[in-house]
Protein backbone atom coordinates (compact mmCIF):
# COMPACT_ATOMS: atom_id res chain seq x y z
CA UNK A 1 0.00 0.00 0.00
CA UNK A 2 1.28 3.43 -0.87
CA UNK A 3 1.52 5.57 2.22
CA UNK A 4 1.02 9.25 2.73
CA UNK A 5 4.78 9.79 2.81
CA UNK A 6 4.82 9.41 -0.99
CA UNK A 7 2.36 12.24 -1.59
CA UNK A 8 4.91 14.92 -2.60
CA UNK A 9 6.00 12.86 -5.58
CA UNK A 10 2.69 11.15 -6.33
CA UNK A 11 0.96 14.26 -7.51
CA UNK A 12 3.67 14.83 -10.11
CA UNK A 13 4.07 11.20 -11.13
CA UNK A 14 0.31 10.64 -11.35
CA UNK A 15 -0.37 13.00 -14.28
CA UNK A 16 2.97 12.01 -15.87
CA UNK A 17 2.01 8.33 -16.06
CA UNK A 18 -1.58 9.18 -16.92
CA UNK A 19 -0.56 11.21 -20.00
CA UNK A 20 0.54 8.32 -22.27
CA UNK A 21 -2.42 6.24 -21.04
CA UNK A 22 -4.73 9.09 -21.97
CA UNK A 23 -3.34 9.24 -25.51
CA UNK A 24 -4.50 5.63 -25.96
CA UNK A 25 -8.07 6.38 -24.90
CA UNK A 26 -9.60 7.19 -28.24
CA UNK A 27 -13.08 7.89 -26.87
CA UNK A 28 -13.16 11.57 -26.01
CA UNK A 29 -15.52 11.33 -23.03
CA UNK A 30 -13.39 8.58 -21.53
CA UNK A 31 -10.23 10.64 -22.02
CA UNK A 32 -11.93 13.62 -20.40
CA UNK A 33 -13.19 11.60 -17.41
CA UNK A 34 -9.74 10.07 -16.94
CA UNK A 35 -8.02 13.47 -17.05
CA UNK A 36 -10.54 14.90 -14.59
CA UNK A 37 -10.01 11.98 -12.18
CA UNK A 38 -6.22 12.39 -12.30
CA UNK A 39 -6.50 16.13 -11.81
CA UNK A 40 -8.83 15.79 -8.82
CA UNK A 41 -6.45 13.19 -7.39
CA UNK A 42 -3.61 15.71 -7.62
CA UNK A 43 -5.86 18.35 -6.04
CA UNK A 44 -6.69 16.13 -3.05
CA UNK A 45 -2.96 15.37 -2.70
CA UNK A 46 -2.09 19.05 -2.62
CA UNK A 47 -4.81 19.87 -0.07
CA UNK A 48 -3.44 17.15 2.20
CA UNK A 49 0.14 18.34 1.60
CA UNK A 50 -0.65 21.96 2.42
CA UNK A 51 -2.46 20.92 5.62
CA UNK A 52 0.49 18.77 6.70
CA UNK A 53 2.98 21.50 5.86
CA UNK A 54 1.06 24.17 7.74
CA UNK A 55 0.76 21.88 10.78
CA UNK A 56 4.22 20.37 10.95
CA UNK A 57 6.68 22.14 8.68
CA UNK A 58 8.30 21.31 5.31
CA UNK A 59 8.05 17.82 3.83
CA UNK A 60 11.03 16.27 2.10
CA UNK A 61 10.83 13.38 -0.32
CA UNK A 62 13.96 11.64 -1.59
CA UNK A 63 13.47 10.13 -5.03
CA UNK A 64 14.52 6.49 -5.10
CA UNK A 65 15.77 6.77 -1.52
CA UNK A 66 18.87 8.72 -2.59
CA UNK A 67 19.49 11.48 -0.11
CA UNK A 68 20.25 15.02 -1.25
CA UNK A 69 22.62 16.49 -2.37
CA UNK A 70 23.47 13.42 -4.51
CA UNK A 71 19.87 12.41 -5.14
CA UNK A 72 17.00 14.52 -6.35
CA UNK A 73 14.68 15.65 -3.60
CA UNK A 74 11.20 17.11 -3.63
CA UNK A 75 10.52 19.59 -0.91
CA UNK A 76 7.11 21.02 -0.12
CA UNK A 77 6.76 24.00 2.20
CA UNK A 78 4.11 26.71 2.54
CA UNK A 79 5.32 28.75 -0.44
CA UNK A 80 5.13 25.94 -2.97
CA UNK A 81 2.30 24.14 -1.17
CA UNK A 82 0.01 27.03 -2.02
CA UNK A 83 1.19 27.10 -5.65
CA UNK A 84 0.57 23.35 -5.94
CA UNK A 85 -2.91 23.96 -4.56
CA UNK A 86 -3.56 26.73 -7.13
CA UNK A 87 -2.36 24.67 -10.09
CA UNK A 88 -4.16 21.42 -9.30
CA UNK A 89 -7.25 23.25 -8.03
CA UNK A 90 -7.63 25.46 -11.11
CA UNK A 91 -7.03 22.43 -13.31
CA UNK A 92 -9.80 20.49 -11.54
CA UNK A 93 -12.23 23.39 -11.94
CA UNK A 94 -11.32 24.14 -15.57
CA UNK A 95 -11.66 20.52 -16.74
CA UNK A 96 -15.45 20.16 -16.28
CA UNK A 97 -15.73 23.45 -18.21
CA UNK A 98 -13.25 22.28 -20.83
CA UNK A 99 -15.44 19.39 -22.04
CA UNK A 100 -18.13 21.49 -23.73
CA UNK A 101 -15.67 24.22 -24.61
CA UNK A 102 -13.31 21.86 -26.47
CA UNK A 103 -16.27 20.20 -28.20
CA UNK A 104 -17.20 23.57 -29.65
CA UNK A 105 -13.70 24.74 -30.55
CA UNK A 106 -11.52 21.74 -31.39
CA UNK A 107 -12.17 18.89 -33.91
CA UNK A 108 -13.29 15.70 -32.21
CA UNK A 109 -10.39 13.49 -33.30
CA UNK A 110 -7.90 15.72 -31.50
CA UNK A 111 -9.59 15.57 -28.10
CA UNK A 112 -7.78 12.67 -26.47
CA UNK A 113 -4.45 14.06 -27.67
CA UNK A 114 -5.41 17.47 -26.35
CA UNK A 115 -6.15 16.00 -22.92
CA UNK A 116 -2.77 14.23 -23.10
CA UNK A 117 -1.03 17.57 -23.68
CA UNK A 118 -3.11 19.04 -20.85
CA UNK A 119 -1.95 16.30 -18.46
CA UNK A 120 1.69 16.86 -19.50
CA UNK A 121 1.30 20.57 -18.91
CA UNK A 122 -0.14 19.83 -15.46
CA UNK A 123 2.77 17.46 -14.75
CA UNK A 124 5.29 20.10 -15.76
CA UNK A 125 3.74 22.86 -13.67
CA UNK A 126 3.38 20.67 -10.57
CA UNK A 127 6.91 19.34 -11.08
CA UNK A 128 8.45 22.81 -11.35
CA UNK A 129 6.79 23.70 -8.09
CA UNK A 130 7.51 20.58 -6.06
CA UNK A 131 11.13 19.88 -6.94
CA UNK A 132 14.13 21.13 -4.97
CA UNK A 133 16.64 20.28 -7.68
CA UNK A 134 17.71 23.11 -9.98
CA UNK A 135 18.13 21.03 -13.13
CA UNK A 136 14.91 19.16 -12.50
CA UNK A 137 13.22 22.56 -12.63
CA UNK A 138 14.53 23.06 -16.18
CA UNK A 139 13.27 19.66 -17.32
CA UNK A 140 9.78 20.25 -15.92
CA UNK A 141 9.81 23.81 -17.27
CA UNK A 142 10.31 22.36 -20.74
CA UNK A 143 7.73 19.60 -20.23
CA UNK A 144 5.14 22.22 -19.36
CA UNK A 145 6.27 24.67 -22.07
CA UNK A 146 6.30 22.15 -24.92
CA UNK A 147 2.81 20.95 -24.04
CA UNK A 148 1.66 24.55 -23.69
CA UNK A 149 2.76 25.32 -27.28
CA UNK A 150 0.67 22.36 -28.43
CA UNK A 151 -2.33 23.51 -26.40
CA UNK A 152 -2.09 27.04 -27.80
CA UNK A 153 -1.77 25.77 -31.36
CA UNK A 154 -4.95 23.71 -30.85
CA UNK A 155 -6.86 26.98 -31.24
CA UNK A 156 -6.00 26.85 -34.96
CA UNK A 157 -9.29 25.22 -35.91
CA UNK A 158 -11.19 28.37 -34.95
CA UNK A 159 -8.50 30.91 -35.86
CA UNK A 160 -5.30 30.21 -37.78
CA UNK A 161 -3.50 32.98 -35.90
CA UNK A 162 -3.13 30.45 -33.06
CA UNK A 163 -0.34 28.87 -35.12
CA UNK A 164 1.80 31.99 -35.37
CA UNK A 165 1.07 32.76 -31.70
CA UNK A 166 2.26 29.28 -30.70
CA UNK A 167 5.35 29.61 -32.90
CA UNK A 168 6.36 32.95 -31.38
CA UNK A 169 5.71 31.56 -27.92
CA UNK A 170 7.94 28.60 -28.77
CA UNK A 171 10.82 30.83 -29.87
CA UNK A 172 10.64 33.16 -26.87
CA UNK A 173 9.88 30.36 -24.40
CA UNK A 174 12.88 28.36 -25.59
CA UNK A 175 15.17 31.38 -25.40
CA UNK A 176 13.93 31.94 -21.83
CA UNK A 177 14.42 28.31 -20.80
CA UNK A 178 17.89 28.25 -22.40
CA UNK A 179 18.89 31.38 -20.48
CA UNK A 180 17.68 29.63 -17.36
CA UNK A 181 19.78 26.54 -18.06
CA UNK A 182 22.86 28.68 -18.74
CA UNK A 183 22.33 30.18 -15.29
CA UNK A 184 22.06 26.70 -13.75
CA UNK A 185 25.29 25.71 -15.55
CA UNK A 186 27.16 28.69 -14.14
CA UNK A 187 25.80 27.88 -10.68
CA UNK A 188 26.98 24.30 -11.02
CA UNK A 189 30.36 25.61 -12.11
CA UNK A 190 30.63 27.74 -8.95
CA UNK A 191 29.24 25.24 -6.45
CA UNK A 192 29.33 21.75 -7.94
CA UNK A 193 25.81 21.07 -6.74
CA UNK A 194 22.29 21.09 -8.12
CA UNK A 195 20.26 20.78 -4.94
CA UNK A 196 18.80 24.19 -4.09
CA UNK A 197 19.49 24.06 -0.34
CA UNK A 198 22.96 22.67 -0.94
CA UNK A 199 23.75 25.40 -3.49
CA UNK A 200 22.65 28.04 -0.99
CA UNK A 201 24.90 26.55 1.72
CA UNK A 202 27.89 26.39 -0.57
CA UNK A 203 27.31 29.90 -1.91
CA UNK A 204 27.34 31.17 1.67
CA UNK A 205 30.78 29.63 2.18
CA UNK A 206 32.50 30.85 -0.97
CA UNK A 207 33.41 34.42 -1.72
CA UNK A 208 31.15 36.45 -3.95
CA UNK A 209 32.26 35.84 -7.50
CA UNK A 210 31.23 37.20 -10.85
CA UNK A 211 30.24 33.70 -11.96
CA UNK A 212 27.46 33.64 -9.35
CA UNK A 213 26.31 37.14 -10.26
CA UNK A 214 26.14 36.24 -13.95
CA UNK A 215 24.28 33.04 -13.07
CA UNK A 216 21.76 35.10 -11.12
CA UNK A 217 21.31 37.48 -14.05
CA UNK A 218 20.74 34.63 -16.51
CA UNK A 219 18.26 32.86 -14.22
CA UNK A 220 16.32 36.06 -13.57
CA UNK A 221 16.13 37.07 -17.26
CA UNK A 222 15.13 33.53 -18.27
CA UNK A 223 12.37 33.42 -15.67
CA UNK A 224 11.27 36.99 -16.48
CA UNK A 225 10.62 35.79 -20.03
CA UNK A 226 8.61 32.84 -18.71
CA UNK A 227 6.55 34.94 -16.32
CA UNK A 228 6.04 37.73 -18.89
CA UNK A 229 7.57 40.60 -16.95
CA UNK A 230 6.76 43.81 -18.77
CA UNK A 231 9.23 44.31 -21.63
CA UNK A 232 9.51 40.53 -22.10
CA UNK A 233 5.77 39.89 -22.31
CA UNK A 234 5.49 39.95 -26.12
CA UNK A 235 4.46 36.28 -26.41
CA UNK A 236 1.62 36.49 -23.91
CA UNK A 237 -1.22 38.51 -25.51
CA UNK A 238 -1.37 36.50 -28.74
CA UNK A 239 -0.92 33.14 -27.03
CA UNK A 240 -3.78 33.84 -24.61
CA UNK A 241 -6.01 35.36 -27.28
CA UNK A 242 -5.86 32.55 -29.81
CA UNK A 243 -5.66 29.47 -27.57
CA UNK A 244 -8.92 27.55 -26.97
CA UNK A 245 -10.95 29.19 -24.16
CA UNK A 246 -10.40 26.44 -21.59
CA UNK A 247 -6.65 26.42 -22.30
CA UNK A 248 -6.46 30.19 -21.81
CA UNK A 249 -8.31 29.92 -18.49
CA UNK A 250 -5.94 27.20 -17.30
CA UNK A 251 -2.72 28.86 -18.50
CA UNK A 252 -3.60 32.37 -17.36
CA UNK A 253 -4.33 31.05 -13.89
CA UNK A 254 -1.33 28.75 -13.50
CA UNK A 255 1.62 28.99 -15.93
CA UNK A 256 2.91 32.46 -15.10
CA UNK A 257 2.22 31.79 -11.39
CA UNK A 258 4.61 28.83 -11.38
CA UNK A 259 7.28 31.08 -12.97
CA UNK A 260 6.72 33.82 -10.38
CA UNK A 261 7.10 31.21 -7.65
CA UNK A 262 10.39 30.07 -9.22
CA UNK A 263 11.62 33.65 -9.28
CA UNK A 264 10.89 33.94 -5.53
CA UNK A 265 12.45 30.56 -4.83
CA UNK A 266 15.65 31.23 -6.73
CA UNK A 267 16.05 34.81 -5.54
CA UNK A 268 15.58 34.06 -1.86
CA UNK A 269 16.47 30.47 -1.08
CA UNK A 270 19.14 29.87 -3.72
CA UNK A 271 20.87 33.19 -4.39
CA UNK A 272 19.79 35.04 -1.24
CA UNK A 273 23.05 34.58 0.60
CA UNK A 274 25.44 34.14 -2.30
CA UNK A 275 24.87 36.99 -4.71
CA UNK A 276 25.13 40.64 -3.80
CA UNK A 277 23.05 41.39 -6.88
CA UNK A 278 19.67 40.51 -5.35
CA UNK A 279 18.98 43.79 -3.55
CA UNK A 280 20.16 46.16 -6.33
CA UNK A 281 18.42 44.07 -9.00
CA UNK A 282 15.09 44.01 -7.14
CA UNK A 283 15.28 47.73 -6.33
CA UNK A 284 16.56 49.25 -9.55
CA UNK A 285 15.24 46.78 -12.12
CA UNK A 286 12.36 44.89 -10.51
CA UNK A 287 10.32 47.76 -9.09
CA UNK A 288 10.58 50.13 -12.11
CA UNK A 289 9.73 47.32 -14.56
CA UNK A 290 6.85 46.21 -12.37
CA UNK A 291 5.47 49.76 -12.27
CA UNK A 292 5.97 50.18 -16.02
CA UNK A 293 4.18 46.87 -16.60
CA UNK A 294 1.25 47.90 -14.38
CA UNK A 295 0.65 50.97 -16.52
CA UNK A 296 1.64 49.68 -19.95
CA UNK A 297 -0.49 46.56 -19.49
CA UNK A 298 -3.55 48.46 -18.25
CA UNK A 299 -3.31 51.16 -20.92
CA UNK A 300 -2.90 48.59 -23.68
CA UNK A 301 -5.90 46.71 -22.25
CA UNK A 302 -8.09 49.81 -22.58
CA UNK A 303 -7.54 49.91 -26.34
CA UNK A 304 -8.31 46.26 -27.13
CA UNK A 305 -11.49 45.35 -29.01
CA UNK A 306 -10.92 41.63 -28.43
CA UNK A 307 -11.83 40.90 -24.81
CA UNK A 308 -9.51 37.91 -24.50
CA UNK A 309 -6.61 40.13 -25.59
CA UNK A 310 -7.82 42.81 -23.18
CA UNK A 311 -7.64 40.37 -20.27
CA UNK A 312 -4.26 39.13 -21.49
CA UNK A 313 -2.85 42.67 -21.31
CA UNK A 314 -4.48 43.05 -17.93
CA UNK A 315 -2.51 39.93 -16.89
CA UNK A 316 0.69 41.75 -17.84
CA UNK A 317 -0.37 44.52 -15.46
CA UNK A 318 -1.27 42.08 -12.69
CA UNK A 319 2.10 40.36 -13.03
CA UNK A 320 3.50 43.84 -12.39
CA UNK A 321 1.79 43.82 -8.96
CA UNK A 322 3.33 40.44 -8.14
CA UNK A 323 6.84 41.55 -9.12
CA UNK A 324 6.35 44.82 -7.24
CA UNK A 325 5.70 42.93 -3.99
CA UNK A 326 8.81 40.86 -4.65
CA UNK A 327 10.82 44.01 -5.38
CA UNK A 328 10.36 45.28 -1.83
CA UNK A 329 12.27 42.21 -0.54
CA UNK A 330 10.31 42.40 2.71
CA UNK A 331 8.09 39.85 4.45
CA UNK A 332 4.97 41.93 3.76
CA UNK A 333 5.98 42.41 0.12
CA UNK A 334 6.51 38.70 -0.51
CA UNK A 335 3.29 38.03 1.36
CA UNK A 336 1.47 40.36 -1.04
CA UNK A 337 3.09 38.54 -3.97
CA UNK A 338 2.03 35.12 -2.67
CA UNK A 339 -1.49 36.38 -1.95
CA UNK A 340 -1.76 37.86 -5.42
CA UNK A 341 -0.51 34.60 -6.97
CA UNK A 342 -3.49 32.88 -5.40
CA UNK A 343 -6.01 35.68 -5.88
CA UNK A 344 -5.08 36.50 -9.45
CA UNK A 345 -5.44 32.81 -10.36
CA UNK A 346 -9.02 32.95 -9.02
CA UNK A 347 -10.00 36.14 -10.86
CA UNK A 348 -8.33 35.48 -14.21
CA UNK A 349 -9.55 31.88 -14.17
CA UNK A 350 -13.12 33.08 -13.59
CA UNK A 351 -12.93 35.85 -16.19
CA UNK A 352 -11.44 33.72 -18.96
CA UNK A 353 -13.97 30.97 -18.26
CA UNK A 354 -16.83 33.47 -18.45
CA UNK A 355 -15.43 34.68 -21.77
CA UNK A 356 -15.30 31.03 -22.85
CA UNK A 357 -19.06 30.87 -22.13
CA UNK A 358 -19.57 33.98 -24.26
CA UNK A 359 -17.53 32.51 -27.10
CA UNK A 360 -19.49 29.25 -26.85
CA UNK A 361 -22.75 31.07 -27.60
CA UNK A 362 -21.75 34.14 -29.64
CA UNK A 363 -18.68 32.63 -31.42
CA UNK A 364 -16.87 35.92 -30.87
CA UNK A 365 -15.36 37.86 -27.98
CA UNK A 366 -15.05 41.15 -29.88
CA UNK A 367 -16.58 43.95 -27.90
CA UNK A 368 -18.80 45.06 -30.80
CA UNK A 369 -20.52 41.66 -30.87
CA UNK A 370 -21.42 41.81 -27.20
CA UNK A 371 -23.86 44.74 -27.28
CA UNK A 372 -26.75 44.08 -24.90
CA UNK A 373 -25.57 40.60 -24.02
CA UNK A 374 -26.04 41.29 -20.31
CA UNK A 375 -29.76 40.69 -20.72
CA UNK A 376 -29.33 37.55 -22.84
CA UNK A 377 -26.63 35.86 -20.76
CA UNK A 378 -27.20 37.31 -17.26
CA UNK A 379 -25.23 34.71 -15.28
CA UNK A 380 -22.19 34.81 -17.56
CA UNK A 381 -22.06 38.58 -17.66
CA UNK A 382 -22.52 38.95 -13.91
CA UNK A 383 -19.57 36.55 -13.51
CA UNK A 384 -17.55 38.95 -15.68
CA UNK A 385 -18.70 41.90 -13.57
CA UNK A 386 -17.70 40.25 -10.28
CA UNK A 387 -14.37 39.15 -11.79
CA UNK A 388 -13.85 42.67 -13.11
CA UNK A 389 -14.53 44.20 -9.67
CA UNK A 390 -11.98 41.79 -8.28
CA UNK A 391 -9.44 42.91 -10.91
CA UNK A 392 -10.01 46.51 -9.88
CA UNK A 393 -9.65 45.60 -6.21
CA UNK A 394 -13.06 46.50 -4.81
CA UNK A 395 -13.55 45.49 -1.13
CA UNK A 396 -15.19 42.09 -0.47
CA UNK A 397 -13.32 40.60 -3.43
CA UNK A 398 -9.91 38.92 -3.42
CA UNK A 399 -8.38 41.72 -5.46
CA UNK A 400 -8.82 44.04 -2.50
CA UNK A 401 -6.97 41.70 -0.14
CA UNK A 402 -3.86 41.49 -2.29
CA UNK A 403 -3.78 45.22 -3.02
CA UNK A 404 -4.27 45.97 0.67
CA UNK A 405 -1.14 44.00 1.58
CA UNK A 406 0.76 45.40 -1.39
CA UNK A 407 0.01 48.96 -0.25
CA UNK A 408 1.02 48.04 3.30
CA UNK A 409 4.32 46.71 1.96
CA UNK A 410 4.87 50.00 0.09
CA UNK A 411 4.01 52.01 3.22
CA UNK A 412 6.54 49.99 5.23
CA UNK A 413 9.20 51.32 2.85
CA UNK A 414 7.61 54.76 3.10
CA UNK A 415 7.22 54.78 -0.67
CA UNK A 416 4.16 57.00 -0.89
CA UNK A 417 4.54 57.54 -4.60
CA UNK A 418 4.29 53.78 -5.18
CA UNK A 419 1.03 53.69 -3.21
CA UNK A 420 -0.28 56.46 -5.45
CA UNK A 421 0.80 54.52 -8.55
CA UNK A 422 -0.90 51.32 -7.33
CA UNK A 423 -4.16 53.23 -6.83
CA UNK A 424 -3.80 55.02 -10.18
CA UNK A 425 -3.25 51.78 -12.10
CA UNK A 426 -6.28 50.26 -10.36
CA UNK A 427 -8.30 53.17 -11.71
CA UNK A 428 -7.14 52.23 -15.21
CA UNK A 429 -8.66 48.81 -14.59
CA UNK A 430 -11.98 50.57 -13.88
CA UNK A 431 -11.88 51.96 -17.42
CA UNK A 432 -11.48 48.67 -19.25
CA UNK A 433 -13.90 46.80 -17.01
CA UNK A 434 -16.46 49.60 -17.43
CA UNK A 435 -16.20 49.39 -21.22
CA UNK A 436 -17.37 45.77 -21.04
CA UNK A 437 -20.15 46.54 -18.56
CA UNK A 438 -21.35 49.47 -20.66
CA UNK A 439 -21.48 47.42 -23.87
CA UNK A 440 -23.11 44.42 -22.23
CA UNK A 441 -25.77 46.20 -20.17
CA UNK A 442 -26.39 49.68 -21.56
CA UNK A 443 -26.40 49.03 -25.32
CA UNK A 444 -29.29 47.65 -27.29
CA UNK A 445 -28.87 43.97 -28.22
CA UNK A 446 -27.70 43.20 -31.75
CA UNK A 447 -31.02 43.05 -33.66
CA UNK A 448 -32.20 39.67 -34.86
CA UNK A 449 -29.80 37.69 -32.69
CA UNK A 450 -31.11 35.37 -30.04
CA UNK A 451 -28.51 34.16 -27.61
CA UNK A 452 -29.30 31.99 -24.63
CA UNK A 453 -27.42 31.40 -21.41
CA UNK A 454 -24.38 29.11 -21.59
CA UNK A 455 -24.88 25.44 -20.59
CA UNK A 456 -24.73 24.62 -16.87
CA UNK A 457 -21.64 22.44 -17.25
CA UNK A 458 -19.77 25.62 -18.19
CA UNK A 459 -21.59 28.06 -15.89
CA UNK A 460 -21.15 26.05 -12.69
CA UNK A 461 -17.31 25.84 -12.85
CA UNK A 462 -17.22 29.55 -13.71
CA UNK A 463 -19.38 30.42 -10.74
CA UNK A 464 -17.38 28.15 -8.43
CA UNK A 465 -14.39 30.40 -9.15
CA UNK A 466 -16.47 33.56 -8.90
CA UNK A 467 -17.72 32.28 -5.53
CA UNK A 468 -14.12 31.66 -4.48
CA UNK A 469 -13.35 35.28 -5.47
CA UNK A 470 -15.98 36.47 -3.01
CA UNK A 471 -15.34 33.86 -0.31
CA UNK A 472 -11.59 34.48 -0.08
CA UNK A 473 -12.25 38.20 -0.31
CA UNK A 474 -14.34 38.12 2.87
CA UNK A 475 -12.75 35.23 4.75
CA UNK A 476 -9.04 35.81 4.03
CA UNK A 477 -7.63 34.15 7.18
CA UNK A 478 -6.59 31.00 5.38
CA UNK A 479 -4.79 32.65 2.45
CA UNK A 480 -3.19 35.32 4.62
CA UNK A 481 -1.87 32.83 7.16
CA UNK A 482 -0.40 30.58 4.43
CA UNK A 483 1.09 33.60 2.65
CA UNK A 484 2.63 34.81 5.92
CA UNK A 485 4.30 31.45 6.65
CA UNK A 486 5.47 31.27 3.01
CA UNK A 487 6.90 34.79 3.03
CA UNK A 488 8.63 34.30 6.37
CA UNK A 489 10.14 31.07 5.07
CA UNK A 490 11.41 32.69 1.87
CA UNK A 491 12.68 35.98 3.24
CA UNK A 492 13.99 34.25 6.37
CA UNK A 493 16.20 32.06 4.17
CA UNK A 494 17.97 35.18 2.92
CA UNK A 495 19.16 36.37 6.32
Amino acid sequence: MIGAEHLPVLQVVGPLIAAPVCSLLRIRNLAWLFTLAVSIGAFLCSIHLLQTVMASGPLVYELGGWAAPLGIEYRVDASNGIVLLIISGISSIVLPFAKRSFEAEVPEKLHSLLYTAYLLCLTGLLGITATADAFNVFVFLEVSSLSTYVLVAAGASTDRRALTAAYNYLILGTVGATFFVIGIGLLYMATGSLNMADIANRLADIEETRTVDVAFAFVVVGLALKLALFPLHAWLPNAYTHAPSAVTAFLAATATKAAVYLMLRFSFTVFGTGSGLLAPMAGTVGIPLALAGMFAGSIAAIYQYNLKRMLAYSSVAQIGYMVLGFGFLSVTGVMATTLHLFNHALMKGALFMALGCVFFRVRSVNIGDLAGIGRQMPWTMSAIVVGGLSLIGVPLTVGFISKWYLIQAALEQEAWWIVALIVASSLLAVIYVWRVVETAYLKEPVPGRTVTEAPLSMLIPTWVLVGANLYFGIEADFTVSVARVAAEGLVGAMQ
Binding site: F135, F138, V139, E142, L146, Y149, V150, A153, A156, R160, R161, L163, T164, A166, Y167, L170, I171, T174, V175, A177, T178, V181, I182, G185, Y188, M189, Y305, N306, N366, I367, G368, D369, A371, T439, K443, V446
Partner: protein, 132 residues
Protein backbone atom coordinates in the same frame (compact mmCIF):
# COMPACT_ATOMS: atom_id res chain seq x y z
CA UNK B 1 45.05 39.82 -23.42
CA UNK B 2 46.04 37.22 -26.01
CA UNK B 3 46.64 34.78 -23.18
CA UNK B 4 43.17 35.41 -21.79
CA UNK B 5 41.68 34.57 -25.16
CA UNK B 6 43.81 31.47 -25.74
CA UNK B 7 43.46 30.09 -22.22
CA UNK B 8 39.69 30.20 -22.23
CA UNK B 9 39.17 29.55 -25.93
CA UNK B 10 36.38 27.05 -25.22
CA UNK B 11 34.32 29.73 -23.48
CA UNK B 12 34.92 32.18 -26.32
CA UNK B 13 33.58 29.60 -28.75
CA UNK B 14 30.52 29.17 -26.52
CA UNK B 15 29.92 32.92 -26.28
CA UNK B 16 30.35 33.37 -30.04
CA UNK B 17 27.90 30.57 -30.86
CA UNK B 18 25.44 31.91 -28.31
CA UNK B 19 25.49 35.37 -29.87
CA UNK B 20 25.36 34.05 -33.46
CA UNK B 21 22.39 31.89 -32.55
CA UNK B 22 20.48 34.68 -30.85
CA UNK B 23 21.29 37.05 -33.70
CA UNK B 24 19.90 34.61 -36.25
CA UNK B 25 16.71 34.16 -34.19
CA UNK B 26 16.20 37.92 -34.07
CA UNK B 27 17.30 38.96 -37.54
CA UNK B 28 15.97 36.26 -39.88
CA UNK B 29 12.40 36.46 -41.12
CA UNK B 30 12.19 32.89 -42.35
CA UNK B 31 10.60 30.69 -39.70
CA UNK B 32 12.84 27.69 -40.46
CA UNK B 33 15.97 29.84 -40.28
CA UNK B 34 14.82 31.12 -36.90
CA UNK B 35 14.64 27.53 -35.67
CA UNK B 36 18.15 26.90 -37.00
CA UNK B 37 19.34 29.93 -35.04
CA UNK B 38 17.59 28.60 -31.95
CA UNK B 39 19.45 25.31 -32.44
CA UNK B 40 22.82 27.06 -32.68
CA UNK B 41 21.97 28.97 -29.50
CA UNK B 42 21.06 25.76 -27.67
CA UNK B 43 24.15 23.97 -28.96
CA UNK B 44 26.36 26.66 -27.43
CA UNK B 45 24.88 25.71 -24.04
CA UNK B 46 25.61 22.03 -24.66
CA UNK B 47 29.24 22.91 -25.39
CA UNK B 48 29.36 25.08 -22.30
CA UNK B 49 28.25 22.24 -20.01
CA UNK B 50 30.60 19.76 -21.65
CA UNK B 51 33.60 22.04 -21.42
CA UNK B 52 33.03 22.80 -17.76
CA UNK B 53 32.95 19.07 -17.03
CA UNK B 54 36.35 18.43 -18.63
CA UNK B 55 39.28 17.66 -16.34
CA UNK B 56 42.66 18.27 -17.90
CA UNK B 57 44.20 14.92 -18.84
CA UNK B 58 41.10 13.13 -17.61
CA UNK B 59 39.63 10.10 -19.33
CA UNK B 60 36.09 8.92 -19.84
CA UNK B 61 34.41 8.09 -16.51
CA UNK B 62 34.60 4.28 -16.68
CA UNK B 63 35.26 2.17 -13.60
CA UNK B 64 38.49 0.21 -14.14
CA UNK B 65 39.41 -0.59 -10.57
CA UNK B 66 42.45 1.67 -10.73
CA UNK B 67 42.48 5.24 -9.54
CA UNK B 68 42.24 7.40 -12.57
CA UNK B 69 41.56 11.02 -13.30
CA UNK B 70 38.33 11.32 -15.21
CA UNK B 71 36.01 14.07 -16.43
CA UNK B 72 32.91 14.90 -14.42
CA UNK B 73 30.12 12.72 -15.85
CA UNK B 74 27.21 14.63 -14.33
CA UNK B 75 27.10 17.58 -16.80
CA UNK B 76 27.18 15.07 -19.65
CA UNK B 77 24.09 13.38 -18.25
CA UNK B 78 22.38 16.72 -17.69
CA UNK B 79 23.10 17.93 -21.17
CA UNK B 80 21.89 14.67 -22.68
CA UNK B 81 18.51 15.61 -21.20
CA UNK B 82 18.81 19.12 -22.60
CA UNK B 83 19.67 17.72 -26.06
CA UNK B 84 16.49 15.64 -25.97
CA UNK B 85 14.55 18.75 -24.99
CA UNK B 86 16.20 20.60 -27.89
CA UNK B 87 15.18 17.89 -30.35
CA UNK B 88 11.61 17.97 -29.07
CA UNK B 89 11.52 21.76 -29.41
CA UNK B 90 12.89 21.64 -32.96
CA UNK B 91 10.44 18.92 -33.96
CA UNK B 92 7.50 20.83 -32.51
CA UNK B 93 8.71 24.06 -34.09
CA UNK B 94 9.04 22.45 -37.51
CA UNK B 95 5.60 20.85 -37.15
CA UNK B 96 4.18 24.30 -36.44
CA UNK B 97 6.00 25.70 -39.47
CA UNK B 98 4.40 22.99 -41.64
CA UNK B 99 0.96 23.89 -40.29
CA UNK B 100 1.62 27.59 -40.79
CA UNK B 101 2.69 26.95 -44.36
CA UNK B 102 -0.47 24.90 -44.97
CA UNK B 103 -2.84 27.60 -43.78
CA UNK B 104 -0.98 30.81 -44.70
CA UNK B 105 0.98 29.54 -47.73
CA UNK B 106 4.08 31.40 -46.56
CA UNK B 107 6.71 31.06 -43.84
CA UNK B 108 8.14 34.59 -44.06
CA UNK B 109 7.53 36.47 -40.84
CA UNK B 110 6.73 39.86 -42.41
CA UNK B 111 4.17 38.35 -44.81
CA UNK B 112 2.52 36.47 -41.93
CA UNK B 113 2.45 39.69 -39.95
CA UNK B 114 0.74 41.51 -42.84
CA UNK B 115 -1.88 38.77 -43.17
CA UNK B 116 -2.59 38.80 -39.43
CA UNK B 117 -2.79 42.59 -39.28
CA UNK B 118 -5.23 42.63 -42.20
CA UNK B 119 -7.51 40.21 -40.30
CA UNK B 120 -7.22 42.33 -37.17
CA UNK B 121 -8.12 45.51 -39.01
CA UNK B 122 -11.14 43.87 -40.61
CA UNK B 123 -12.31 42.58 -37.21
CA UNK B 124 -11.76 45.92 -35.55
CA UNK B 125 -13.69 47.94 -38.10
CA UNK B 126 -16.50 45.36 -38.11
CA UNK B 127 -16.53 45.48 -34.34
CA UNK B 128 -16.72 49.27 -34.25
CA UNK B 129 -19.36 49.40 -36.95
CA UNK B 130 -21.67 47.15 -34.99
CA UNK B 131 -21.00 48.96 -31.73
CA UNK B 132 -22.17 52.27 -33.11
Amino acid sequence: MLELILDKYNYWVVVALMLFGLYIVISRGNLVKKLVGLNVFQTSVFLFYISLAKAEGGTAPILTGETELFSNPLPHVLILTAIVVGIATTALGLALVVRIRESYNTIEEDELEDLNIAVMKAEQSGSKGEAQ
